[in-house]
């Protein structure tokens, strides 16, 4: 590349303020003696000024933001199973769109009571689980019955299959169905007789940073 072509290539970054160091010094020296490059510089400055011009129309970012936020809250409602959407959720780590709506804060107050009630229901329900009727990722068993306790869970986006298996094994649960379109898994106990679902199971899942959401749910 000859000296002039090299200078022309640098002009863009000189015009937008991103050329520095010895190259900037070299270019300034070249410009001193090259009228063609000075004209090219003026042309590129005109392009920059044209692009940088403020628009004549006024934008309304707040109204646009309100529309986006409504969409985020709508995503959140759709991502949750009805039972939990109506009563609120606990999230771990970074909250996402579905966890940041006003309903979340409003529902948090009643959540502790709910968990206690659901936990009790799980304990009681587990006594009737003599023959778990669900499918796992490796068999074709039918889905859990309406009365069978389940946990609804969402894993972090970055979690891999191996991690999911590790999480499930650690909590003594397996996948009955899912993920739904919203990424929600329905989990059931691996051995409902020996280790039925409990509040402790949910707590264990929530303690895992790879789990974004875990809550007792309904089929």
């Amino acid at each position: 590349m000859n000296e002039h072509a090299r200078a022309v290539e640098m002009l863009t970054w000189r015009v937008n303020g991103r050329l520095g160091g010895p190259e900037a010094d070299w270019l300034e020296a070249h410009l001193e003696g090259c009228s063609e490059c000075r004209r090219e510089l003026a042309a590129q400055q005109a392009i920059r000024d044209a692009i940088a011009r403020e628009p004549t129309v006024e934008f309304a970012p707040q109204a646009s933001f309100n529309r986006l936020w409504a969409r985020i809250e709508q995503d959140g409602r759709e991502a949750l199973p009805p039972a939990t959407a109506a009563t609120g959720v606990v999230t771990r780590g970074r909250r996402r769109g579905w966890a940041a709506g006003r309903w979340t804060r409003a529902a948090l107050a009643g959540q502790a009571v709910l968990i206690a009630l659901l936990g009790g229901a799980l304990w009681r329900g587990s006594a009737d689980n003599r023959a778990p009727n669900y499918r796992t990722v490796t068999d074709e068993a039918p889905a859990p019955t309406a009365s069978q306790p389940v946990i609804k869970a969402i894993f972090d986006d970055r979690v891999r299959l191996g991690d999911v298996q590790d999480i499930l094994a650690g909590a003594g649960v397996t996948v009955a169905s899912g993920p739904s379109a919203a990424g929600v898994y329905t989990l059931v106990a691996v051995d409902a007789k020996a280790a039925p679902l409990s509040a402790a199971t949910i707590a264990r899942l929530r303690a895992d940073p790879r789990v974004r959401f875990a809550e007792a749910g309904a089929q």
């Binding site: 290539e9 863009t12 970054w13 015009v15 937008n16 303020g17 991103r18 050329l19 520095g20 160091g21 010895p22 190259e23 900037a24 009228s35 000075r38 004209r39 510089l41 003026a42 042309a43 590129q44 005109a46 392009i47 920059r48 000024d49 044209a50 692009i51 940088a52 011009r53 403020e54 628009p55 129309v57 934008f59 970012p61 707040q62 646009s64 933001f65 529309r67 986006l68 936020w69 969409r71 985020i72 970074r94 909250r95 996402r96 769109g97 966890a99 940041a100 986006d157 970055r158």
Partner: protein, 191 residues
């Protein structure tokens, strides 16, 4: 050599990072603040690109929706603006291509120039340049916007457009050549 960011740009980057960190933690107010900042930065260029505000807003909201969901995945290996512009770039291409060619494809003008009045002021020159830019292929227009409108370095533009740095240089070269062909007076501007 790429110059370090100016104090103004560095301050903007620091502010963007603080906001993005809060957004990653689910802070709605920080998200609103970041939204307003990027709405302003993106709207001007997207309205120019699409010529329709509602399409520009759709792209902006798609972009910021991704930012809300993926804020925690930003690793800090580029400027926040480079990251967000990359998202906006992909969303813009997708939206424009979904909506049909008439929104973004140049109407070819062969052997023709856009003749501006002899006695034109700075504002008129700018208008002619922006009009001429609409004749450029999309990738060339975008390269001009990123370089001259947003002050991105060649490497940053390559990252945004997911292409080699040499491709960025080629797009800029052809864009300027086409503008000169459309606007002969561009070459006659006094330094």
């Amino acid at each position: 050599m790429v110059a370090p960011l100016s104090q103004q740009h560095q301050s903007r980057e620091d502010s963007d990072r603080r906001l993005l960190h809060k957004v990653a933690a689910g802070d709605r107010e920080a998200f609103r603040e970041l939204y307003v900042v990027y709405h302003r930065r993106l709207a001007r260029f997207l309205v120019r690109l699409t010529r329709r505000y509602e399409v520009a807003e759709e792209i902006i909201n798609d972009t910021l929706w991704v930012v809300w969901r993926k804020a925690g995945e930003f690793r800090g290996d580029s400027r926040v603006s480079t990251w967000i512009m990359g998202i906006a770039y992909r969303r813009a291409l997708k939206t424009l291509r979904t909506r049909g060619h008439q929104l973004y494809e140049a109407v070819p003008i062969e052997n023709e120039t856009l003749v501006a009045p002899d006695e034109q002021g700075e504002a008129e020159t700018a208008e002619w340049i922006l009009t001429a830019m609409q004749q450029l292929p999309l990738e060339q227009r975008l390269a001009l916007e990123y370089a001259y409108g947003y002050g991105h370095s060649c490497e940053e533009i390559a990252k945004i457009m997911d292409c080699p740095a040499n491709t960025v240089k080629t797009r800029l070269f052809h864009a300027r050549a086409k503008l000169r062909a459309l606007l002969p007076q561009l070459a006659g501007l006094e330094p």
